[in-house]
């Protein structure tokens, strides 16, 4: 009988709903595979040093694979390189690390698609155009920055939509809340707030509700149905998008298992993702899982029970 393979799912920080859901998917994959044990771990605050400490202890335990959602694109590279030197398969998912530090990166969805999606969600509810603002996570988070960049690229396609400010809530509820208050203050004509982060979107919706601006300012972006259900119901958010974090955790685990099994991550390769099918790697060894899915008053209740 083969020994159980150990796959570590390293997240940005423990306790965040999105990652808890990803863990659910990873456990599902482990059960399906039978001979895989998933170690769900991560630092308690979203710092690179914390993740390095975690990665070092995973290397010491001689895990077979590490799948990481990185707090910092570059800072993890030395530690992850060391892991690869010791024969550990390393992939990144959700938030990526620089190519030298991993075999492949699994994007939840393609970055241009997400960038387009978040601005589209805002624009769809603004037929006459208007001012919108972005509330991001930490200024250092890789994925948010990429999405905002992609969003700005397609901005000219949306006539009349002005992005008036980009602020950072650091993925802290209170800071996001205060930043939103600031936005409401300084931009009296604000029509929408785009928060491509699950912490920020909830805080922004709360701040808009408290300021009595429901109906005037629409909060949208990326969030979890379970956390956003109330705000969709109240009208603070008309719609938002997210990919399924359970699927993401599931896919990352499956890919890691495939790599342990001998598959090679190179441009053009197709890696197996169990029930999610396969992912095809591009020239940067990156692949995308699926399109983001839109949630609104019609379907949010149903998904809120799941994640």
């Amino acid at each position: 009988q083969a020994e159980t393979k150990k796959i570590a799912l390293v997240v940005k920080a423990l306790g965040i709903g999105f990652f808890e859901a990803a863990n659910k998917g990873a456990q599902e994959a482990a059960k399906e595979l039978g001979d895989v044990e998933v170690i769900y771990t991560g630092p308690t605050t979203t710092t690179a040093e914390g993740q390095i400490e975690v990665i070092n202890s995973l290397i010491a335990q001689k895990v077979d694979a590490i799948a990481v959602s990185a707090n910092d694109t570059n800072a993890l590279v030395p530690a992850l390189k060391k892991a690869m030197d010791r024969g550990i398969k390393v992939i990144s998912w959700d938030s990526g690390v620089a190519p030298e530090g991993r075999l492949m990166h699994l994007n939840p969805s393609s970055n241009p698609l997400i960038g387009n999606m978040i601005i589209k969600l805002a624009a769809d509810n603004l037929p006459d155009g208007g001012d919108v603002a972005v509330l991001s996570a930490t200024a250092t988070s890789t994925n948010q920055n990429v999405w905002i960049e992609e969003m700005n690229k397609v901005l000219p396609n949306y006539k009349g939509i002005n992005v008036v400010a980009t602020v950072y809530g650091d993925d802290l509820a209170d800071k996001s809340y205060r930043e939103t208050q600031g936005l409401i203050q300084s931009h009296p004509n604000l029509k929408a707030i785009i928060a491509p982060t699950s912490v920020g979107i909830v805080a922004a919706a709360q701040a808009v509700t408290d300021a009595g601006k429901i109906g005037q300012i629409n909060v949208t972006g990326l969030g979890l149905p379970s956390e956003m259900a109330g705000h969709v119901k109240s009208g603070a958010s008309k719609s938002f998008a997210i990919w399924n974090p359970i699927d993401l955790g599931y896919s990352a685990t499956m890919i890691a298992n495939d790599l342990i099994g001998g598959a090679e991550a190179k441009p053009g390769a197709e890696l197996k993702m169990g029930r999610m099918g396969t992912v095809k790697l591009d020239d940067k060894n990156e692949g995308a899982m699926a399109d983001p899915f839109i949630y609104d008053a019609k379907n949010v209740e149903e998904f809120a029970k799941i994640f």
């Binding site: 423990l14 605050t45 802290l172 509820a173 600031g182 936005l183 709360q206 109330g230």
Partner: protein
Amino acid sequence: MKLLLKNREMLLVVAIIALLALIAMRFPPFVAPGNLANVYNDTSILIILALGQMAVILTRCIDLSMAANLALSGMAAAMLNAAFPGLPVPLIILTAVALGAALGSINGLLVWKLDIPPIVVTLGTLTIYRGLIFLLSGGAWINAHQMSDAFKALPRTSILGFPLLSWLSLVIIAIMVVVMRRTPLGRAFFALGGNPHAAVYTGIDVGRTRFLAYCLSGTLAGLSGYLWVSRYAVAYVDIAAGFELDIIAACVIGGVSIAGGIGSVGGAVLGALFLGVIKNALPVINISPFAQMAISGAVIIIAVAVNARAEKRKGRVILRKAEAAHG
């Protein structure tokens, strides 16, 4: 005595007005009464916490665990609400306050009965309390949708046009004024901080008084825990992480002497407001959010330097005393 205290508080009032004027030049709507009320509301929790911290600092101690206490009490309140949505909110608040007081009393007991230096005690309990939140919640967040509407609504309830949170902080300021000025306990805080040795001669039990100061700061932290969690409608391990330093900074800016014995309710409130105005203003006057931290740091340093100037002991003036006596 009053004059000098008044002076220091006046100085802060002037500083805050100057600050508001400066902000108004860049962004006039900031000083609209409605917005100022918002800023006050946003600073309410800091004010409440700063008052608790002040009591502790007055007795020559320090409470680094206040923010962790807040987070733990807040998480407990949120989890209680999530688990039993039917539970009356006042009961939940009471639980949070009691838990906060209990956590504060642990600090107090360690300082009182074991004579461990306060900074070590609260440094230790800071990490322990944070860790307990993780153990309690398993690291999971409690989100808005898990909280009952009544739970979230309380601090937002509007009375005479102002949210209850603002009123609550005003009530606590009033209570603290009375406690600090007109109860033996409040006076004992000042006396003991000014001269712990002499305090014994006046029948003040130094250890017990410090214990009570910690209970007070813990109670206020517990209350703030509920307020924080319901106001921001979310609870997780890291809420208010690092906030202990803001609390201490508010006290220091407000002229509370870190060496104990000197401070006032008015000063602490103004110190908190000063920080609150800066925090709220920076995002709207288009100063890079990244400058925020550097500015608060500079403000703290300037405030300490100014306060130290004001505090600097005048010489005993043997000569002038002689002249006065003869003249």
